[in-house]
């Protein structure tokens, strides 16, 4: 039967790993992720989880050893934050390059200071990892379990990050429903390795190595197969989200995006992570006042659901994109992606860019209300300025 427990986001992440029966956990502390690996250490110490727990000497080793453990045929999980994630950057390319379904929890910490923003994950944007944003502890747990299923799918075989905002989620306690272990086992079958690494498979392994080195192929193939897998992942994510919903009666939109109170909306705002949670309140307040504005929560940042935005785009007159990140010299990264995906539409909505919540700046309901109202004014054809606003 379902069990409820009041727990912080980090504990929910640890439970996701436990329920997925991970077998290899390289652990290195960094605030605000640290308590995840502490909870896992406790679970192992108490005999609740049977896994190799290695207290490594840094994040680079955490990532590189998770890579080879996954290659050796065991389910690998690790967690990190901010600078730790940056330190993992180059082995992350190797993990996705070898198509190894390592799953990692990222508890956001800005690369400027200890408070959260999405700059740490955005710095890994092009490592060919899937990236999912979560807005509450329950979603962290559910997404964690789903990540293993998505990443290990034969059509995908790419590593995945599921992320939550540090402090706001990591240390905030809220009720979380723990799915029963038997049901998770039925939902998530044991990991089957795809690399023939054992000594008795020496010949297959040589062929695999030659293929992975790209012998006899277009040199660009190594990139193309990853891009194709990323595109295929969109279907898999929707399927897994649906299947998870059938098992545990929780769905997160269609797995890629979630539309909240978008029926009849003239304008929508787009947000990721905990800002989406705050935005729900703001949108409810505005709709009570009769303002037709909705929320599109972006759950899957990679693969980026361009098709969804092409579908939503023509239904509204304006979109306000809330970015908890910035690529200096370009602007909001989500904003760029959203706008980019709708360029070829016959009828495009106006797009507004908002930066907020960076370096842990508090995002209040009234901030989102102001963002939504400005977007709505743009939808009604009013002149709005500036088009890029730091809230």
């Amino acid at each position: 039967m379902e069990k409820w427990e009041v727990m912080v986001g980090n504990k929910a992440v640890a439970y996701a790993a436990k329920l997925a029966r991970v077998k290899y956990i390289p652990s290195f502390p960094i605030t605000p992720q640290t308590t995840i690996v502490q909870y896992l250490a406790d679970m192992i110490a108490n005999g609740e989880l049977d896994a190799e727990y290695v207290t490594v000497e840094g994040e680079l080793t955490a990532q590189a050893s998770a890579l080879t453990a996954a290659a050796a045929g065991v389910r690998s999980f690790t967690a990190t934050s901010g600078p730790g994630l940056l330190y993992m950057h180059h082995p992350m390319h190797a993990t996705s390059g070898a198509r190894l379904p390592v799953v990692m929890a990222v508890i956001h910490r800005s690369v400027k200071g200890m408070q959260p923003d999405h700059s740490d994950m955005m710095a890994q944007r092009d490592t060919s990892w899937m990236m999912f944003e979560c807005e509450n502890s329950q979603e962290l747990l559910d997404t964690g379990i789903m990540c293993f299923k998505i990443a290990e799918d034969e059509r995908v075989r790419l590593p995945a990050i599921f992320a939550g905002d540090g402090y706001i989620l990591s240390y905030t306690a809220e009720p979380v429903e723990l799915p029963p272990q038997e049901e998770v086992d039925a939902f998530l079958p044991p990991y089957k390795p795809s690399i023939p690494l054992l000594p008795e498979q020496a010949e297959e392994m040589r062929m695999w190595m030659l293929r992975s080195w790209g012998f006899g192929r277009d040199p660009q193939d190594a990139w193309k197969v990853q891009h194709d897998a990323m595109e295929a992942a969109k279907t898999v994510i929707k399927e897994v989200n649906e299947e998870y919903g059938k098992w545990f009666s929780r769905r997160y939109g269609n797995g890629l995006v979630e539309e909240y109170m978008c029926d009849g909306a003239e304008a929508v705002i787009i947000a990721m992570g905990t800002i989406a949670s705050t935005a729900r309140v703001a949108i409810r307040n505005l709709q009570k006042r009769g303002e037709p504005v909705g929320l599109v929560k972006l759950k899957s940042f990679k693969p980026f659901p361009a098709e969804e935005f092409r579908r939503i785009g023509p239904q509204v007159k304006a979109m306000g994109v809330v970015d908890r990140n910035i690529s200096c010299g370009t602007g909001g990264i989500v904003f760029g992606n959203v706008r980019d995906s709708m360029y070829d539409l016959e009828e495009r909505p106006r797009t507004l860019q908002f930066h907020t919540g960076m370096r842990g700046k508090e995002v209040k309901v009234m901030d989102i209300e102001r963002i939504a109202e400005k977007t709505l004014r743009a939808a009604r054809g009013e002149k709005v300025a500036p088009l890029v606003e730091w809230v």
């Binding site: 190799e52 590189a64 080879t68 082995p91 000594p199 040589r206």
Partner: protein, 309 residues
């Protein structure tokens, strides 16, 4: 301790293919052949970027990743993963260059040694970054010419001494540390076979002259390697960890026995003197005082891995 083991007794089966991309006279390539023959087919290898993948024609499976500093990390994951898969019979081994061991890979080396991860780390030491064209490494000997420490009007080559990595690894009190040379295959095979029989972190440092980088005639690789050993530049040593509790047990004499020396073909003057290492790290940091017994004198590790570099 390890006993020299002749190459001829390993049988006719080769575990590498005859052709590879190594330079003529490459000692690393000879190391690859000897290692694969001595350890047999039941191994899984880790490769990082070095000359190794270029002559990586060993049949046993390997994982290669361009994580230059990742040898210790990746072998950790491999051995732990295989253990979880119930395949502890497989020997995890990495044939790693000196740069990936003593420089960029040193953090991972030290950490894996400290955790006593279960694999064999083999370093073929050609004393510079030869794969990128012979740049200085911290394994380069003093006054040696490299492309980044050239000899010129005001330069005599590399100003610093060679980093003594076998000594540093031995100070981690790992189960086995040995130095060997490509020119003494019997000694090397004996050490490899001995290491394979142990569990935990094993480190074998193999002197591997590089004709391309050092600028000698490729036919002289073995000769140069032999001169290095006989001159004391690359002494052949081996050290098996003592039971860390040994010094607490029964007789002091017993505790002081056994030990570090593994002469191989080392000339007598290079053999360690003294009474051996009674308790590994306990010794290095000072043995706990035990009533009625004088703490043993402690220089053996430094003696053991002393070299004339």
């Amino acid at each position: 301790m390890s006993k020299p083991f002749p190459l001829t007794r390993l049988g006719d089966e080769e575990f590498i293919d005859p052709a590879n991309q190594a330079c003529q006279g490459c000692a690393g390539s000879i190391v690859a052949r000897i290692v694969s023959k001595a350890l047999g087919p039941n191994i899984v290898r880790q490769e990082v970027a070095c000359c190794g993948p270029a002559f990586g024609n060993i049949r046993a499976p390997s994982i290669y990743a361009e994580i230059f500093e990742g040898a210790g990390a990746m072998m950790t994951g491999l051995s732990r993963g295989l253990k979880r898969r119930g395949r502890e019979d497989i020997t995890v081994v990495g044939i790693i260059g000196d740069g990936g061991t003593v420089d960029i890979g040193f953090q991972g080396l030290s950490a894996a040694a400290e955790r006593n991860e279960d694999f064999i780390w083999i370093v073929y030491d050609n004393e510079a970054y030869m794969n990128t064209g012979g740049q200085r490494s911290s394994a380069t000997t003093k006054y040696a010419y490299t492309t980044t420490t050239p000899v010129g009007e005001i330069s005599r080559g590399k100003p610093e001494r060679k980093k003594n990595v076998p000594l540093l690894v031995a100070a981690h009190n790992v189960p086995y540390v040995a130095t060997a040379s490509v020119s003494f295959p019997e000694d090397l095979i004996g050490k490899l076979r001995y290491a394979q029989g142990l569990k935990g972190f094993r480190f074998i440092h193999i002197s591997a002259p590089c004709p391309t980088g050092w600028g000698f005639n490729p036919k002289d690789t073995i000769k140069v390697g032999r001169e290095m050993v006989l001159s004391g530049l690359a002494p052949l040593r081996g050290r098996r960890r003592q039971d860390p509790e040994a010094h607490l047990q029964a007789e002091g004499a017993e505790a002081r026995q056994g030990g570090p020396e593994d002469a191989g073909q080392v000339p007598p003057r290079h053999r360690p003197r003294g009474r051996g290492d009674p308790g590994g790290c306990h010794g290095v940091l000072g043995a706990p005082h035990i009533k009625g017994r004088r703490p043993p004198l402690l220089t053996p590790i430094t003696n053991l891995f002393r070299s004339n570099t």
